[in-house]
Amino acid sequence: MPPNYLKIAGGTVYDPRHGVDGQVRDLWIADGKIVDAPRDSKVRPSKTIDAAGLVVMPGGVDMHCHIAGPKVNVARKMRPEEKRVAPPVERTATTHSGTMGSVPSTFATGYKYAGMGYTSAFDAAIPPLAARHAHEEFADTPCIDKGFYLLVGNNQYIMRAIQEREPARLKAFLGWLLSAAGGYAPKIVNPGGVEVWKQHPSGNVDDLDTRVDYFDVTPRGIIRGIAQAADELKLPHRVHIHCNNLGLPGNWTTTLETMKALEGFGGHLTHIQFHSYGGGSGDEDTFNSKVVPLADYVNAHSNLTVDVGQVLFGETTSMTGDSPLGYYLSNVYKTKWFSAETEMESGCGIAPIEYKNKNLINALQWAIGLEWFLLVDDPWRVVMSTDHPNGGSFLAYPQIIRLLMDRTWRRDALASVHPLVRERSTLADLDREYSLYEICIITRAAPAKILGLDHKGHLGPGADADITIYTPDDNPQTMFELPRFVIKGGQVIVEQGELRESTFGKTLHVTPDYDKDVEADIAKWFEDYYSIRFRNYPVGEEYLHEHETVPCQ
């Protein structure tokens, strides 16, 4: 029996992984995968999509967003005022209802990603102790494949292993933790700073060499230690880093030092926009962009990749594993504030915020994000993100695409923001315009590659048949907001913005090889310090539902 083929015929195909730049091609799909065209020319597909005149790309991959788990769910509970005024998501015969606002409910999140042509998304900050909760939400987040990164940058077991100079134990623990939690990658958030916050009022670290009390380690040591362990475990996405001092004037030197602290190990610096500020420490009057020197460093060091964390003007919710940042923001904005510390592992801060185009700081943040897109030479190393919902919603991606593809529109936008932005950033001087091919790289091919997902972000045989088909439009925002078709795992799930089918989507996770002898020591650690039993910590396979182990290699 020949397989049931789906054929996408005559589309203008963009597949940067294979150097395909807008060529007319047919794609053949069987069993959820892209396959070679059948050799026997008599074989007919059971369904054909006529894509003549349409643009065909791999499904989008969001490598940094906050869509599941305790922090996201608290933000939902905390912000009914937003949901009350947001357009409702009504139930249909095939879909569940939901709510929007800056933190949509789970079903709404899945539908909206799919509706925009994104087929994979990764939550960037899950406390391992709450991994089970994140998996439960993933099971209620349809249409997209998903994974999450585990907060490890203030994990006390890791800090102790670094303090005691036991890199082998750190490596084994990291392997165990990722496997036990069903996680995808290690995430470092304000390394050491959250532990200092837990110990001291308004506590934080100042720079990479501040010593963390009790553990006698430094942020630099934490970054270096985890990066090495991740490298030795051959994790598909080595380490995802939220630097110290997020959002503070003058923080660019911390960011540069973080890049250096990796000492050549692979590392991804996330929402880099928030970490690229010049100016005097604590002095907002001197606030300015330092993208040029940072992008120069990234351009010259191939071990580094970044995603941007673009800011859009409007109201949103800040949510972070960086507790002192949450406190800082709630005091700046004088808003309600949620903070929660997770034993042995991490912190969390949530506050409503608003970015205003006439506010110099906010306007500079907006410009700095765009500078990053335009100043990193190689689009394979800079990824589209808003750090949803911190800089804005993932639903703003089409708007950002237009800002990158249309310099006239970008200039008009720049003219509407605080005038000092032209002096304090280089945005006014940047003429670069992204091509569709480059947009395809920064929204799908590059994030898939940086995540080590061999079967995503491209359209070659063996790839998951996650495909988005767009109607070309002079306005790229219009084009990217409303895909003609979205195909997930070979199934057409969206047609012209209408959800046709609600598929489940897989959970992507890793199970690195590690030295099992470490478990006795971890069990003792649990006995001494955790409030739950060691045996109740690992997440069972039943929580992973449809899932896929991404190989470490």
Partner: protein
């Protein structure tokens, strides 16, 4: 999660590290000794835990009753679906003694039929939920308290009675990383309207007259900000001399990591959400001086799980109205007790919750007057009065799944016994399937 229905051998066996839902502590270190198909012993369990585990050994009631008569399960499913499919404003309430997986199934069904969806949060800690939306909350997992807490305040809660192992596991006695001597490294304060068993364990007991919690907490806010207060006014407002509150504030500022645990004694007394708002505000403001967190003391079952499930599915954690085809939130208007007391609901589904403890007289009278489905693991007044009653296996005894501790830490349930009865998850899924059939045949 082990198999849903493990075989139960005759020889005693031990199921270790079982999570207990007897109260919001969800102690997960219980060893159950299973003998001849029943739980003979619940090691390390407190009195509430023993009652929960050992009290489950009753003979199984009939799986399904329709109007009090024993019926086939399939007939009960059909009748329940008929009730829901023809209802204009059905109410879903409960979800206390069940897994978050079954809570998801209930939320799904409520969405499909467009009902009200509410939980015991609205009858217990709802005012806290409302004040949390006003000011936020600074909190932590219980293990943080065990490892760091050096000033422990209980306000309007008597854990010796309501959460018997709280002291041992989380708040007073653990020898933690930064409090290595355990109880010796901690100062313990109880604030309540009368001397309680917990007050006897405290270093300092502050008796406050009834309904003066708000005034007391507002006094502390003022003292945290170093405001000058009029002693006589403080005495009249709080029933205690200013010096007592100043003494407490001094201790709070001196603490390295303080915590206030509070209960319905604060949240559900006069002032309601203003009381918890005042408490959450004090705790927030203490973080300008030291580290301080607050934590609500949740009751039995998995109400915290229900809050989480409702929040991720609808965006709101209780009092959700799905009647327009999308979620809306308005406690008071869409709270189950109010919807029933106003005579609005025309059908109801009560899941794993004895509403005689939760609803007022008017609400109970209206419930009795409308067709309603009750899904419970044990026969109660509520199941006996139901139009359709399903008796189910018990989550955490016979079936697995997930439970959320009072601090939102998710834990796996480990079933120790087999049950001939279906789980509530399966019953709810079957009702939904049948409702969808009825809906699509009505549409076509």
């Amino acid at each position: 999660m082990p198999d849903k229905k493990p075989s139960t051998p005759a020889a005693p066996s031990i199921v270790a590290d079982v999570a207990c839902t007897g109260c919001g502590c969800v102690c997960d270190d219980i060893d159950l000794v299973v003998e001849s198909g029943r739980i003979a012993e619940a090691r390390r369990a407190c009195t509430l835990g023993e009652a929960w585990f050992i009290g489950q050994a009753d003979p199984s009631p009939p799986a399904c009753l329709i109007e009090g008569q024993q019926a086939e399960l399939a007939d009960g499913i059909d009748r329940a679906a008929q009730i829901l499919a023809s209802a204009r404003y059905p109410l879903f309430y409960g979800l206390r003694h069940t897994s978050s997986e079954a809570q998801q199934a209930a939320a799904s069904l409520a969405d499909v039929v467009g009902g009200i969806l509410d939980t015991p949060t609205s009858t217990h800690h709802g005012p806290w939920g409302v004040s949390f939306q006003g000011v936020g909350e600074v909190t932590s997992s219980l293990g943080e308290v065990a490892n760091r807490g050096d000033l422990i305040i209980f306000w309007g809660v008597d854990p010796v009675v309501s959460h018997p192992r709280h002291f041992e596991r989380y708040s007073l006695f653990p020898k933690g990383m930064f409090v290595p001597r355990g109880r010796q490294d901690r100062t313990v304060v109880v604030v309540d309207v009368e001397r309680t068993a917990s007050a006897d364990e405290a270093d300092l007991f502050l008796e406050v007259p009834r309904h003066r919690d708000f005034e007391a907490l507002w006094t502390l806010r003022a003292l945290a900000a170093d405001c000058q207060l009029e002693p006589q006014q403080v005495l009249e407002a709080t029933g205690r001399p200013l010096a007592d509150w100043q003494n407490l504030m001094d201790r709070m500022k001196r603490a390295r990591f303080g915590v206030i645990f509070f209960g319905t004694g604060l949240a559900m007394t006069e002032g309601k959400h203003l009381n918890s708002e005042a408490l959450l505000a004090v705790v927030r403001e203490m973080n300008a001086h030291t580290r301080f967190v607050a934590k609500t003391m949740r009751g039995p079952g998995n109400v915290t799980g229900a809050e989480n499930v409702l929040a991720w599915r609808t965006g709101f954690s209780f009092a959700v109205n799905l009647a327009r085809g999308y979620p809306r939130f308005n406690p008071g208007e869409y709270s189950a007790d109010d919807v029933l007391a106003r005579g609005e609901a025309d059908a109801a589904v009560i899941v794993q919750c004895d509403v005689s403890e939760d609803f007022g007289d008017q609400a109970r009278r209206h419930l009795a007057a409308i067709p309603h489905v009750v899904i419970d693991h044990r026969p109660t007044e509520t199941t006996r009065a139901a139009t359709v009653a399903f008796h189910t296996a018990t989550a955490g005894i016979h079936t697995g799944g997930t439970v959320y501790r009072m601090d939102d830490v998710p834990l796996p349930l480990r079933p120790a016994l087999a049950s001939p009865l279906e789980g509530d998850l399966e019953i709810l899924e079957r009702i939904e399937m049948r409702v969808r059939q009825l809906q699509s045949s009505a549409a076509s």
